[in-house]
């Protein structure tokens, strides 16, 4: 059994439809796992389930071998970092962090030492006597983190902890969180709707939607080889092109996009199951691809399509072109500066190694 096991959980809030149905999840000790998905997908529900604020209607939860399904939340020794930080406004930073230790009746000397250590890990030394209202957003976030860490929990749960910080702070805090997690070797479950956060922090990403797991994998796997159309679209495969399969054989396949031919290798993409196994001749498909994975060129070539450039937006590090092929519009990111004018004809070149094929619904 893994360190944290959720087995066939059915859970929800009201009498009606449960949010999670027959939901199972395993988390290895010492890993940082992200639950990634849009709002309403059940990721926060899962977190609250683990913390004990929600009791499942069916299923069991095991932590380190013990069945904690019915255990009340204050006995689970699981650290929680809330989106709103939930700092106690009437207590100083020191008392906030010491709270959990006081509940455990830790003797004074040890308490002071542990709190000081926790505060120094999160770079808050010197702020012990301030109140939450006197702290900045970033400082409050770190207090919330220290408070959860100081009790040496078996598991740390974080619910979108960085969403209230401005962009620059967020990047800094991400690195901090990662560093702390690796240093303390603590098992963390991190809920977010931001794919960049999930990809940069996690050992493993669990993509969720509608109460179900769409895919579990390493950040690299999820990013490069999405398993379902949902995961693909959620992770930036913004463009789609309609096409039809014209030929399939064990080594390669051929697609036709309004007469233009696209050839691709049938050998399974490394580590990924039969990516193209469903293809049959005559099948209508959609090609999903990322703006940064396509190229625009002046001249034709293999796997390219003649398009008209509608306009380009300068983004600083790249130019984003909006192009049109017949009645379909797509965006392409080009890092070579302005090369194409409005209205100019160009060629969109796709790379089959980076696209995702979906059966047309």
């Amino acid at each position: 059994m893994a360190f944290l096991e959720l087995k066939q959980i059915t859970a929800g809030y009201s009498k009606h439809e449960p949010i999670l149905r027959d939901f199972s999840l395993s988390v290895e000790r010492g890993k940082l796992v992200s639950l990634l998905g849009p709002s309403g997908c059940g990721k926060t529900t899962t977190l609250r389930l683990i913390a004990g604020f929600l009791t499942p209607r069916e299923g069991r939860i095991f932590l380190n071998g013990k069945d904690i399904t019915q255990a009340p939340p204050h006995t689970r020794n699981i650290g929680l970092v809330f989106q709103s930080y939930a700092l106690f406004p009437h207590l100083t930073v020191f008392d906030n962090v010491a709270f959990g230790l006081r509940m455990r009746k830790v003797p004074k000397d040890e308490l002071v030492e542990r709190v000081s250590k926790a505060l120094s890990i999160t770079d808050l030394s010197g702020l012990e006597h301030r109140f939450p209202s006197q702290l900045s957003g970033g400082q409050r976030q770190r207090v919330a983190l220290s408070r959860a860490l100081v009790i040496e929990p078996s598991l740390l749960l974080l619910d979108e902890p960085l969403s209230n910080l401005d962009a620059k702070l967020r990047v800094g805090m991400r690195a901090e969180l990662s560093r702390i997690q690796k240093t303390l070797e603590i098992t963390m479950i991190y809920v977010t709707h931001d794919q960049v956060e999930a990809l940069s922090l996690s050992d493993e990403v669990v993509v969720m939607q509608g109460g179900r797991i769409e895919q579990i994998g390493s950040p690299h796997q999820i990013y490069r080889y999405p398993a379902t159309p949902f995961v693909a679209r959620f992770l930036g495969f913004d463009n789609r092109l309609q096409g039809t399969v014209t030929a399939v054989n064990p080594d390669y396949g051929v697609l036709s996009v309004r007469g233009q031919q696209f050839t691709f290798s049938m050998k399974a993409v490394p580590n990924e199951p039969e990516h193209f196994s469903f293809l049959q001749e005559g099948e209508d498909v959609e090609i999903l691809f990322r703006p940064e994975d396509a190229r625009i060129e002046e001249s034709s070539g293999p796997n390219s399509l003649e398009v008209r450039v509608l306009f380009g937006t300068f983004l600083g590090k790249a130019v984003q072109y909006l192009v049109r092929f017949q009645d379909q519009e797509m965006t392409v990111l080009c890092s070579e500066g302005y090369r194409f004018q409005e209205g100019q004809r160009a060629f969109l070149r796709l790379d089959p190694n980076t696209w995702f094929l979906v059966r047309k619904e």
Binding site: A51, G52, F53, P72, P73, H74, T75, R76, N77, I78, G79, L80, F82, Q83, S84, A86, L87, F88, P89, H90, F99, G100, M103, R104, R147, A148, I151
Partner: protein
Amino acid sequence: MKTSRFYLAVLGVLYLFLLGPFLLIFIASFGSEPIMTFPPKGFSLRWFAKVFTVRMFLDAFITSLWIGLASTLSALVLGIPAAYALVRYSFPSRSLLEVLFASPAVIPGLVLGFSLLRFFVLIGNFPIVLGLYVGHTVILLPYTVRVVSASLRNLDPSIEEAAVSLGAPPVRSFFLVVLPNIRAGVMAAFILAFITSFNNVPISLFLTGPGIAALPIQMLIYMEYYFDPTIAALSSLLIVITVLIVQGAERGLGISQYV
């Protein structure tokens, strides 16, 4: 910022009308004549002295004080948990209950006092002082529930969960984490409720008997027989005390938002 003359004039008239009478009664209580006249003739503090010698005023003051304290504390003990349940939990009959707890403020106080008199005292032989206590507690409940509810709504519910996740059992987390943070609301509710009870006439009017009379009722009775400035002096004292309490409460708690 509207400094237009029109607004200043309107405000001036309003505040003159509201405050003027208080000033006048203050001035009138220093007169030396035993008849209420204005402007008062002479200057004397004898009426203030008299207030403290009139037995029934002292007794009534003590009664009002005790009833005020008892009913305010009871209304808090009843109202705080009720407010918590109304704000933190959702259940089908919640709005009905909110109306129910607000109803003592909707029902005319006079009607409530009268019905308590009929029901408990004349029919059930309930001692009058208990009827008074009970009546005051009930009319104070809407205040405590409303004010404490407002404070609770302003408190992030996650902090209770944070406390629980750190090891505090739910009841303890209420005392450690919720109560300290609604302290201002509770104090405001206390002051508001106590003043309401102390000044209450409709309930106390009916629940009065031998030896039991609240101060306002005692003042009314006195006024029926005597026309001297004693009442003016007592009124002045009460007004001054009220002003001090309200100003203090406003500065410390911003009580005007709760009224």
